[in-house]
């Protein structure tokens, strides 16, 4: 059972990442590969500051800022230099690998012997329950903030930018600046997931971000399938489904491991699972015709 609990906790750690991908992929229509780099960056900044005994109120803003800068760079390259968003993301992600390695000075930094978010806050005696409550509160706060943001005039303009650029420009919005802000926000959220995972698993590794974008994409795609299926238009429900998607994704991986699939095959299982979900609507419509 612990197996599934830790999958749930990981899912909650990834909820910020899923919301970030939801913003870049669904709201702005930009496939943002910066994610792999900014996720690790979040973990690296956390690890370096924790091992330098910096207080939590410094670490959290630093992580958000670092992720935001990474996203803004991708946004700048994409909008100002008119480079394909996918390529812009790959460029920043590649550069971030060196940045991360330089910041850490090593490829792996253990955090077992420094106090972290999960040892500083005590909401329950059981460490798993404690982690659950901390992550749950964290997730709820982030979701409320993003949900509120999307409801504001700024948020509506953001949603319109990915939907009808000609319209929103004629309504007085600088779409370049909007995309840069959106990518900064998305990657700040992604970095937050790196921040949580590093402290949850007790180390930061230079390769922890490899393929992480698929975790976010998978979560968003699970949510999108449900959104289309249930014909949901509410912003709040959509966000809740994205969070649900993040948890379901981790649970599926946990089931895979639980039934004895070789862990080396986990990435292929992930890829096939995402493929299955993406193609599900098409496959079911093929059956009907």
């Amino acid at each position: 059972m612990d197996f599934y609990l830790s999958a749930l906790l990981q899912g909650l750690c990834f909820s910020a990442l899923a919301l970030g991908i939801y913003i870049s992929m669904k709201i702005f229509n930009i496939p943002d590969i910066t994610t792999d780099g900014s996720y690790t960056l979040g973990g690296v900044v956390t690890a370096v500051l924790l091992t330098h005994h910096q207080p939590a109120y410094v670490i959290l803003p630093a992580v958000i800022l670092a992720g935001g800068i990474a996203g803004a760079l991708t946004g700048l390259i994409h909008t100002k230099l008119k480079i394909n968003a996918l390529l812009a993301g790959i460029l920043v992600m590649t550069a971030l690998y060196s940045v991360n390695l330089t910041l850490m000075g090593t490829s792996n930094l253990p955090l077992n012997n420094v106090p972290s978010l999960f040892t500083l806050i005590n909401l329950s005696i059981n460490p798993n329950n404690n982690a659950f409550w901390i992550l749950a509160i964290f997730t709820v706060v982030i979701t409320l903030l993003i949900g509120y943001l999307l409801k504001t005039d700024f948020g509506i303009a953001m949603r319109a930018t990915g939907n009808s650029e000609s319209m929103i420009r004629s309504l007085g919005v600088n779409t370049d600046r909007m995309k840069i802000t959106g990518l900064a926000l998305a990657n700040a959220l992604t970095a937050l997931s790196g921040y949580l995972i590093s402290q949850f698993q007790g180390f930061t590794d230079i390769s922890m971000g490899i393929g992480i974008v698929i975790v976010g994409l998978g979560s968003v795609i699970i949510a999108e399938t449900l959104i289309n299926w249930l014909r949901i238009t509410s912003v709040w429900l959509s966000l809740v489904l994205v969070l649900g998607g993040a948890v379901i994704f981790q649970l599926v991986l946990a089931v895979t491991l639980d039934i004895g699939v070789n862990p080396n095959l986990l990435k292929i299982v992930t890829a096939v699972f995402v493929l299955l979900i993406v193609s599900l609507p098409r496959l079911s419509s093929l059956n009907k015709t």
Binding site: F154, A160, S164, M167, N174
Partner: protein
């Protein structure tokens, strides 16, 4: 209201696919004038409209709106004066957003989009009231996504959206080209009423010579990037519909 001075635009200069879209156009459009521009495809009508809107920059030439030199301002900064209706109904509205969200953005076209929630009950009833004037029965569907509406409904709403915030200039780029005749008529009548009610300065591009004849108080024929004919309100009143067909003969 709008001063266009010696405006040129060449696309892909120096290349094999070079196009001289606008070839030295000067126009002075007075406050409250409703200008209809006609002309064959490739005569530079849309490029001229894009130059006024700011999505294309002239080289050389200058554009002046309401006493301000806006030649170097991008489209999103000219929204202070200009509202636009596009040929494609998809371009003027955001499909995935609700009608209400679309109207909210339009209502703050000239203002910054801040971090406060602007949609409240008062705003909803204001939108409902405006939409009910269209007589399309859309006032009870304001929470619906824009994408669920037909092209005609979307164009009519786009027109309404343009006067949600202060507006001086309305640009209409073949707003009825994608519509069936009945919807087209409703959209054109709505546009004409709004232009009169709000005393807007308007430019309409159209290929429909009946519309060109019926609407507006000035008509311009363009050809090869130049103004070929320019008839003011008195001369336009004397114009017969058949004369327009002769222009294209």
């Amino acid at each position: 209201m709008i001063e266009i001075t010696n405006v040129h635009k060449i696309f892909n200069p120096g290349k094999a696919n070079q196009v001289k879209a606008v070839n030295g156009v000067s126009l002075s459009i007075k406050d409250g004038e409703f200008v209809v521009i006609v002309g064959p495809n490739g005569s530079g009508k849309t490029t001229l409209l894009d130059i006024v809107a700011g999505s294309v920059f002239p080289n050389p030439g200058s554009v002046n709106i309401d006493g301000h030199d806006v030649t170097k301002l991008p489209d999103y900064q000219r929204s202070k004066w200009i509202a636009r209706v596009f040929q494609n109904p998809m371009s003027g509205t955001a499909s995935d957003l609700s009608i209400l969200d679309n109207f909210r953005l339009a209502a703050i076209r000239t203002q910054p989009k801040g971090l406060t929630i602007g949609i409240n009950e008062a705003f909803k009833s204001k939108v409902k009231e405006k939409i009910s004037n269209l007589g399309m029965g859309l006032e009870n569907k304001i929470e619906q996504q824009m994408g669920t509406l037909s092209g005609g409904q979307r164009q009519a709403l786009t027109l309404l959206m343009s006067v949600m915030d202060s507006c001086k200039v309305l640009l209409l780029d073949e707003p009825t080209a994608a519509l069936d005749p009945r919807s087209a008529e409703i959209v054109m009548r709505t546009a004409d009423n709004l232009i009169k009610d709000y005393k807007l300065t308007a430019i309409l591009i159209t290929h429909n010579l009946k519309d060109a004849y019926s609407y507006g108080n000035r008509i311009i024929l363009m050809g090869e990037g130049l103004v070929v004919k320019d008839l003011d309100s008195k001369n336009k009143a004397d114009l017969k519909q058949n004369d327009l067909f002769v222009w294209f003969g």
